[in-house]
Amino acid sequence: MTRALLIAIARRVMRAVLWLYPAPFRRRFGRDLTAHVTGEIAAADRRRAAGVACAEIAAALRDAPLVHLAYWRRRAAHAPSPPPASGWGSDLRLARRQVTGAPLRSALVVTTFALAIGASTAIFSVADAVLLRPLPFPASDRLVRLYEETKDASREGISLPAFEVWQRELRAVRALAFFEPRTALVMIDGEPEQLSGATVSRSFFEVLAAAPQHGAPFSPGPLTRGPREVVIAHRLWQRLGGSEAVVGSMLGVDPGTFAIVGVMPPDFDYPAGAQFWTAAGDLGILHTERSLRFLSAIGRLTPDADLAALQAELAVLTDRHPATDRLGGDVRMTARTLRDSIVGSVRTGITSALAAVALLVIVACCNISGLLLAESSTRARQRAVQAALGASRGRIARQQAFEVLWLAAPGCLLGVWAAWLCRDAIVALSREEIPLIAGTALDVRVMVFAVVATVVTALAASLAPSWSAARTSTRELSSRGSGHTRGVFVVLRGLVVAEVALTFVVAVSGVLLARTFDRLTRVDPGFTPDGVVSVRLNLPLSAPNRGSSLVLYDEILRRVRSTPGISAAGYASRLPLSDALASIEISAGDAEARPPVRAVLQAAGPGFLPAIGARIIRGRDFADADRQAPPAVIINDLLARHLFADGDPIGRRIRFNYFGRPTEGEVIGVNQALRYNGLTTPPAPELYVDYRVRPLMMLLFARTTVPIDAAVPLLKSAVRQADSSRRLAVDQITTLDREIARHLARPRFFLALVAAFAVAALALVTAGVYGVMASAVDAGRRNLGVRLALGATPSRVCRDTLRDGLVLTFIGLAIGGGLAMGATSSLRALLYEIAPRDPLAFGVTAAGLTLVALIACWVPARRASATDALAVMRAEE
C-alpha cells in the first residue's frame, strides 16, 4: 500500500470519526486534527506508517467520549438557561443568575425592601417608645394626673384645698401625691449651682411605686411636721461622690438644709430633669387659698376603677366644691392618664409620621409588586416552554420564589441596618424635643412584621403570573407573543395609580409642613435676636434685703455696660418666647368703663427693651431716675389699645395686683408687642413693671458686637467683679437665637421626618412608573412595530407613550387629591397659618409629581419611538 493511499484512507476515516465529536470541537479543531494525523503518518517510517495510522484512529475513537464528557461538564457549569438537572441547588443558582442578570431592576427592588423595612421599623419603634410602651413605673397604666381646669385652659396647676378634697373623697384613686417643679441653688462642693427639682408630698414615690436605689423614701408622717428630707437623683448622687455615705449627709438646697434620705435609680426621671425631690413642709397660705394653683397632682387608680370612673367622680366633686377663676369662669376638676400628660403634645406629630411611613410601606409594596410582576409576566413564555418540556408547576414556582428570596435577603439585611441608622438619627435629632424618645429600642416584632409583609407581597406578585402561565398552552403563548396578559396589564396600571395617589398624600403633607416651617421662620417675634445673650443671676431667696440687692444689680449693670464688645444691656424677669401665659389682671386707673384684661407680667429695667431690639412706639424706656412711687410701667400696644382705645396712654394710670398688693402704675411708654408664649401664639397684652419696685431673680440681657463665645466670659467676669462676696450664681446662659431655634426644633423635626418619607416615596414612584412603562413598551413592542409599519411616525409613538403614562398619573393625582383632602385635616395641630387644604401646597405637589412622572415616562417613550418595525416583526416570527 502506498503512503499516499494510506494517507487518503486515514483522512477519510478521520473525517468520519470526527462526527462522533461535539460539533463545537469539530468546527474548531477538526481540520487541524485531520492534518495532524496525516502529517504523523507522512513522517513515520515506511514500515510503521500503517501502525501509526491505526493507533491515531483508535485514539480518536477513544477520545471522542472523553471530549463529550468535558463539554457536558462545561455546559453544566455555566448553562445559560433551564431545564437541566432538577434539585434545589440548581434552582437556587438559576434564580441567582436571573437576579444578577438584571442589576438595575434588582438594585431597585433591594433598595425598596430596605427602605420599607428600615423606615417602618424605626418609626414604629419610636412610636412604641413614646406612645405605647409603659412608662418606667410599675403598673404605669394606672397612673393619672389630676387638674383643675380653668377657662383659659391652662390646666397645669391645682390648689392645695382641691388636693385635700380629692384625698378625702376620691374612691377611684388609691394614692395621691402633689409636686411642684422648681429650680433651686444646690451646694455642690461649696459652690452654689442651679438645679431642677421638685417639692413633693411625702406620698410622691409611693404613688409612682418607685423605690430608691439606696436609702429609703421619705419617712411617713403628718404633712406639716417631720425633718426636712430630700431624695436625690442618681446623677446628683454621683456628683456628690456616689458612695453609700452620701445617704444621711446634709445637702444645702436653697433656702435651707436637708437630710439626704434616698437616692433614686438612674432611670427615674419624673418630673423630667428633676435632680432632687424635697419633702413639702408647711405650705402656709396654700392650704387655704383655692385660687393659688401652683401644684401638680398625680394619683394611682384602684385596681377596679378606670379613668372614666375617676372623671365621673371628679364631675360630682366639681359641683360639690365650686370655684371660679379670676375671670369668673368655672373651675372644672378633670384627669388624664400620666402618659397623655407627658406626650400629649407630640401625639399628633408621631401619629402623622406613623401614617406617612405606613403609606410609604404601601408604596414600596406596590413598587416591588409592579417591578416583579412586570418582569415575571414578560417571562411567561420562557416558563411555558419550561412547562412544555416537562417542568412541573411547582418547580417553576420554586424558581420564582428563589428569585424573590435572592432579592429579599439582601433587602432585609440592608433594611435592618437602615432601621438602626434611622433610629439613631431620629433619636439624635429629637432627644431634647420629644419626651421618652431616648428610650427607643428597635422593635423586633415590627421588624419581623415588615419583613414578612414585604416578602409575602413580593412572592405574591412574582408567583401570580407563573401560576396562570403554567396553565397556558404553548400555542396560546406563541400566538400572543411576549406581551402582558390583560389581567397583568390592568394590575400594573392599578399599581401605578395607587403609588401616585399615596405618594401625593405623603408629599402634600411634607409640603404643608414645609410651608408651615417657612411661615414660622418668618414670624416677627417683636425683637431682634441676633447677638443677644441672656444669663440668669440667681439671688438666693434666703439672702439679702432689697437695698443691697439693688446696689449689686446696679453695679453689675454698670460694669457690663462698660465692657468692650457689649453695646446694650438691661434686666428683665423672663425670657421672651418662654411660654409665659397672660396671667395678671389689669384695669385702667381712671376710666372704669373698660373691662379688665389679662396681661403677661414682666419685671424689667432700663435698657432691656432696647437691648433685645424691641421697639418703643410712644413715650420712653425706663430711666435710672424713675425710682419713686408710683412705679413706672411700660405697656404694649395691645394693652394700650384695650385700656385707652385711641387716646394717648402716656401719663395715664393703670391698676393691677403686684405680689398680692394692689398697685397703681404710671404709663411712661408703649412698646410694640413681643411674643411670649412661643412663636405661634399671637402676642398678648404685656405689662412691664420697673424691677426696682421689688427686685427678684433677674435675667441680664446683653447685646454683643463680638461672637457669643467671646462675650460670655466677659459677662461672667463683669458679674464676678461686681459680686465680691460671691452671693450670685450665674447660670442658664442662652441666646435669643437659641431660644428661637428651640421653638423651631420640634416643627423642624416633624418636617424632616415627613419630608424624608415624601422624598423616599417620590423616588419609589419614579422607579415604579419607569418600571411599569418600560415593561409596557417592551411587552407592546409588536403592536408598536405594526403601528410603525402602518405609517405612524416615531414622534407620534413617543407622544402616545407619554400620554399613556400621564393619564395614569392624573388618575392617581385625582384619587390622591381626594384622599389628601381628608387626611391632611389631621395635620391641623402641626400647621401654622397654613390651611390643611392649602391650594398652593396641593398645586405644587401635583405639579411636582406630574414632572416626576413625565421624566420617568420619557426614557420608555423614547425607546418606543426608536422601535425598528422590521426587526420586531422578524423577531416575532
Partner: protein, 113 residues
C-alpha cells in the same frame, strides 16, 4: 480548582510551551524529544487536552508567528497564560511530593532487602 491534579499529558503540554508559543505539531515534537519518546502522543489526545486547557484558561491562541518563510500559514499557535503557569507550578509541587514519597518508599524497600 487548582488542587485537582493535571493529567500528565496536559502537564507536558504546558511545560513544552514555557519557552514561547508553539503550534500543535511542534508541541508533540518537543514533548517526544523531552520524554525520549517514552509514550506516543496521539493527535486526538493532543487536541482534546488543548481544548480543555483553552477552556480552563491555561492556554490562549496567539497570532505570534515564526519569521516569514519558516511558518505554515494554516498553523495555529498556542501560548501558556499566567493561570497556566500557576497550574504548572502547583503540579510541579505535587509531583515533587509524589516523587519524594515514591523514592523514600523505594529506599526503605532497598534497605530491607
Amino acid at each position: 480548582m487548582g488542587s485537582r491534579p493535571l493529567p500528565t499529558t496536559a502537564t507536558l503540554i504546558l511545560a513544552a510551551l514555557c519557552d514561547g508559543p508553539l503550534h500543535p505539531y511542534a508541541i508533540v515534537k518537543r514533548i517526544q524529544h523531552q520524554t525520549d519518546h517514552a509514550a506516543p502522543l496521539r493527535a486526538s489526545t493532543l487536541y482534546r487536552l488543548i481544548d480543555q486547557l483553552l477552556d480552563s484558561g491555561c492556554l490562549r491562541e496567539v497570532d505570534s508567528r515564526l519569521p516569514a518563510g519558516q511558518d505554515d500559514e494554516r498553523r495555529r499557535y498556542f501560548q501558556i497564560t499566567a493561570a497556566g503557569r500557576r497550574a504548572l507550578e502547583a503540579e510541579a509541587r505535587r509531583l515533587r511530593l509524589v516523587l519524594q514519597a515514591t523514592e523514600a518508599g523505594l529506599a526503605l524497600w532497598r534497605s530491607r532487602a
